[in-house]
Amino acid sequence: MLCSFKNPAEHRYVIRMWIMAAFCVLFSFVAALVFRLCHPHGVLSYLVAVLPALPIIGALVYTGVYLAEEKDEFQRNLLVQSLLGGTGGILAVVTAWGYMVDFAHAPQMDLVWVYPLFWLFAGISYGIVRSRYR
């Protein structure tokens, strides 16, 4: 899925996802810089803080758009199963980690990592689901 684009919908989707990821990294640096140099307060500080999250929400929206646009129902089904696998994986890990932090004083996990971890599990799920159809 990542390296060979079979159709325009998929092509558009992958490009959009990479662009959103790039914006997230960029906005993270910008936000950190703004906070260090300008020390914003009040509403402005919240807006700057949220800036890096906007491309992530964009990426999620684009994923939904791709699911609606993709005409190949098999490809669509593969992605849906991957997303569900990612969901199960991330919920299990985050819950276990959360209780370990709360009870056993494990190191805290920054909430922002929930999203990339989700895709990690989705990727693993994709591999498992795809292998069934070899």
Partner: protein, 134 residues
């Protein structure tokens, strides 16, 4: 999803979910009690901490089983859609909150709350979804 489902897959699903929920409450109470009563450290602390997370993993498995067992493809599709909306909203919220926590002063969102948050979003998505198919 109504309260007296007619088909065996749905009935099994509700029964299993209820069982997992019961174990979750029992394990959580046990963990809270053990940690408040005794000074648990090391590997035992981690094992005890993970205890409440196990029924959560169980619930994830139960949902997966239901999706595999349910013969009514429409009901399956509606649940899948609500799960996808749920994870989309959850990932958005955790990412926004994660960046807020990094830059400004907001109350910390405990990791183990992500799972109930997910189900909340799944729940509120079923309304619009059912309306869509009326």
């Amino acid at each position: 999803m109504d309260c007296s489902p007619k088909n065996p897959a749905a009935r099994r699903y509700q029964y299993r979910l209820f069982t997992a929920m019961a174990f979750y409450i029992a394990f959580l109470v046990t963990a809270v009690w053990a940690f408040s009563r005794y000074h648990v450290t090391g590997a035992l602390a981690y094992l005890l901490a993970v205890l409440p997370a196990l029924p959560i993993v169980g619930m994830v498995v139960v949902v997966g089983l239901y999706l595999a067992e349910e013969k009514d493809e429409f009901q399956r599709a509606v649940l899948v859609q609500s799960l996808l909306w749920g994870i989309g909203a959850t990932l958005s919220v955790t990412t926004v909150w994660g960046f807020l926590e990094n830059f400004v002063q907001v109350p910390h969102l405990d990791l183990y709350l992500v799972f109930p948050l997910f189900w909340f979003f799944v729940g509120i998505s079923t309304g619009p979804l059912k309306a869509k198919y009326k």
